[in-house]
Symmetry: C2
Subunit: 332 residues, 2 copies
C-alpha cells in the first residue's frame, strides 16, 4: 500500500496513473502538482487526485484552511482553495513521486522537490526519452539520484488534460524501466509494483538501449510523417494533392497530428540515436531510389516483400500478445 | 440501362463494381472474366456475375450446354460448366468492359478482346496508374483507343477475391477518369454514369496529372513504409525493435502490408513521377537532418507544426466531405 503518491502533471499520463492506482486500491492519498490551476481544479473535481499544489508555491496555513473555505471559493486567493496545499507540504512524506510533465521540465522539477524530499521517497518519471532524463537527474540530484528510477509507459493517445485520463490506459501495455546502478533493487520493485497495479507489463532496458529502440520504432516514424506532410503542404499544387489523399495517407501521417512541441523536445533529447536511425533510413531510401531508377523489379519486390512478411509476423507474434491498441493512440 | 457488362477480374475491385451496378438496377447481365476458374465459380455462386469466361478460351456450344449441365457438375470439362461461356461470346455485344485485373496485364487483355470488340463497346479500367495504361492502350488499339476511357476508383481494402467484394465499396469515394482527346464525350459520360450508379463521385484529370498526384499522396508513402519496415527487419537487433513497436508504428506501416507484386508494378509503371517525389522527399529529409544535427529547435518545430496544422486542415476540410474511410482500406 502506498500512503502518499505525488504526481507532477495531471493530464493523460499522470491522471491515468492516478485513476488506475485508485481503482487497484493500492494508494491512500494522491497529490497532484501542475502549473495549470485549471487542470488541478478539474482533477480534484473528477476525483483523480485528493489534494493539489502548484510548483514552488506556498500553501495556506493548513490550520487556517478549513475556516477560510467559503472565502476561498468566492475569493481571489487561489492558495486557500479547498483541496489546495502548499508545495513543500505536498512533497513531504511521499512514498512515490511520478514526473509526468514535459521532459524538458525534468531538471527544474527535480530542483524544486530536492530540498523537501524524504530519504525514503522514490522518484520516477514517464518521459519518452531516458538518457537525457538520467543526465538531468544526475546533475541535479547528485548522490541522491539513487532515489530516482527512470521509466517510460508505452501508452498514449492524441488527447490530453485531466478529462483525457482513463483507468485502463496502461492495461496490458508495456512500461519500460531503465534502472541505474545506484538504485536500490527494492525501490525498483516498488515502482514496478505500482505500474503492475495499473495493469502494465514491466520491461527493463538500459537508458541507452531504450533510446536506440525508440529512435527506430517511434521517433524516426514521427519525423518521417511530419516531413511528408510538410513537404506536400509546401508544394504549389498542395490543394490538388490533399484532395486525392486517402486512407493510406491518413494512417501513414496520423502521428504527424501529435504535438509539435513535444516531438521537437523528443527529437532533440534523443538527437544522437535519432540521427543514427535517420542516416540508416536515408541510405536505405538511396538504395531503393537506385533500384527504382534502374527499373530493377526484383530488387523493389524483394524489399517490399520482406517488409510485408516482417510486418505480418510482427502483427501476429508481437501485437497479438497485447490487447488491441486504441485507434487514436499516438503519443508513445 | 446497360444490357451487358464484362468485368475482367472478379475480385475486390471488379466484384464490388458488379455488386453496386446490380444493386442500382442499371445492368441486365454481367459476365466475369478471370484467369482463376475458382474465382469465377465463386463469383457465380455469390451472384456477383451472371456468366463466366476464361481469357481466350473457347466455350461449349451454347445449344449443347443445357443438356450437359449434370455431366458438367460432375464431369471434368470445365468449359461446359453451367454459367461458363466462350471468351468470344463473352465479349461480343458488350456495352461496357471494365479491366480490373493487375495493370501489368492491360496490354494482353486488350489484345485478346480487340478481334471480338464491337464498334459501340466502351472499354474502361481501374488501374492505379494511368500514363502507362494509356500508352499500352494506344499501342494495342491504334485508332480504336477512342473506345478506351481510362479510370481509377480511389477505394480499396487489404482483402481480395470475390468474397471481398462489397456493394458499397465506392459509395462516396472518388473515381478519377482521365479521358483521351480521341474519346467521344458521350462515351465518357456513360462510364461516369456507371461509376455514379455505384455511388462514386467523378473527378477528371489528365493521365499525367493523375500520376503526379498519386505519386505524392499514395505511391511515395507506400515506398516509405516498405523501406522503414525492411530497414528495421535487416538490423541485427530487429527482434528487440519490433518488441517495442506500438500503435504509431502500426499505423505508419499499415500500407506496407499491401501486395508487394502490385506495388512493385505501380512503382515501375509510375517511375518518373515517383522518382521526382522521392527526390523532393530526400531533399526535405536532408534539410531536417541538418536542423536536427545543429540542434535547431525552431526549425524542427516549424516543420512539425506546419505538418500538424496542414494535416488537421486536411482532415477537417477534405476527408470530412466523404464518409469515414474503412479502417483497413489500403490498396488505393
Amino acid at each position: 500500500m502506498l500512503n502518499k503518491v505525488v504526481i507532477f502533471g495531471v493530464g493523460l499520463i499522470g491522471g491515468s496513473f492516478a485513476r488506475a492506482l485508485k481503482q487497484a486500491g493500492v494508494v491512500k492519498h494522491i497529490v497532484g502538482v501542475d502549473r495549470s490551476q485549471a487542470f488541478l481544479s478539474r482533477a480534484l473535481e473528477l476525483g483523480i487526485i485528493d489534494s493539489a499544489a502548484q510548483p514552488g508555491k506556498p500553501g495556506a496555513d493548513p490550520r487556517v484552511r478549513p475556516q477560510s473555505a467559503t472565502a476561498a471559493v468566492h475569493g481571489s486567493d487561489p492558495w486557500v482553495r479547498p483541496g489546495f496545499t502548499g508545495f513543500e507540504e505536498a512533497i513531504a512524506g511521499a512514498d512515490l513521486i511520478l514526473l509526468a510533465a514535459p521532459v524538458a521540465q525534468t531538471a527544474r522539477i527535480l530542483q524544486s522537490i530536492l530540498p523537501h524530499l524524504d530519504a525514503t521517497t522514490i522518484v520516477t518519471d514517464a518521459g519518452s526519452t531516458k538518457t537525457d532524463v538520467v543526465a538531468a537527474a544526475r546533475a541535479v540530484m547528485g548522490e541522491r539520484v539513487r532515489q530516482f528510477i527512470p521509466g517510460h509507459p508505452i501508452a498514449g493517445r492524441e488527447t490530453n488534460g485531466p478529462d483525457a485520463a482513463i483507468v485502463d490506459l496502461y492495461k496490458g501495455k508495456k512500461t519500460v524501466l531503465t534502472p541505474l546502478a545506484e538504485n536500490d533493487p527494492a525501490a525498483v520493485d516498488r515502482v514496478a509494483a505500482a505500474w503492475k497495479a495499473c495493469g502494465a507489463i514491466i520491461h527493463t532496458l538500459t537508458p541507452e538501449d531504450h533510446d536506440k529502440v525508440f529512435a527506430a520504432v517511434s521517433h524516426l516514424p514521427h519525423l518521417l510523417a511530419y516531413a511528408l506532410v510538410d513537404d506536400i503542404e509546401r508544394k504549389p499544387h498542395s490543394d490538388l494533392l490533399f484532395q486525392y489523399a486517402a486512407s493510406g495517407f491518413r494512417d501513414f501521417t496520423r502521428i504527424a497530428g501529435s504535438s509539435p512541441e513535444m516531438w521537437r523536445d523528443i527529437s532533440l533529447a534523443n538527437q544522437a540515436a535519432l540521427l543514427t536511425e535517420l542516416d540508416a533510413y536515408l541510405a536505405q531510401l538511396t538504395r531503393l531510389r537506385a533500384s527504382l531508377a534502374a527499373g530493377d523489379a526484383a530488387a523493389l519486390e524483394a524489399t517490399y516483400a520482406n517488409a510485408q512478411r516482417a510486418r505480418r509476423q510482427w502483427i501476429e507474434t508481437i501485437e497479438a500478445a497485447e490487447p488491441p491498441l486504441p485507434k487514436d493512440a499516438a503519443a508513445e
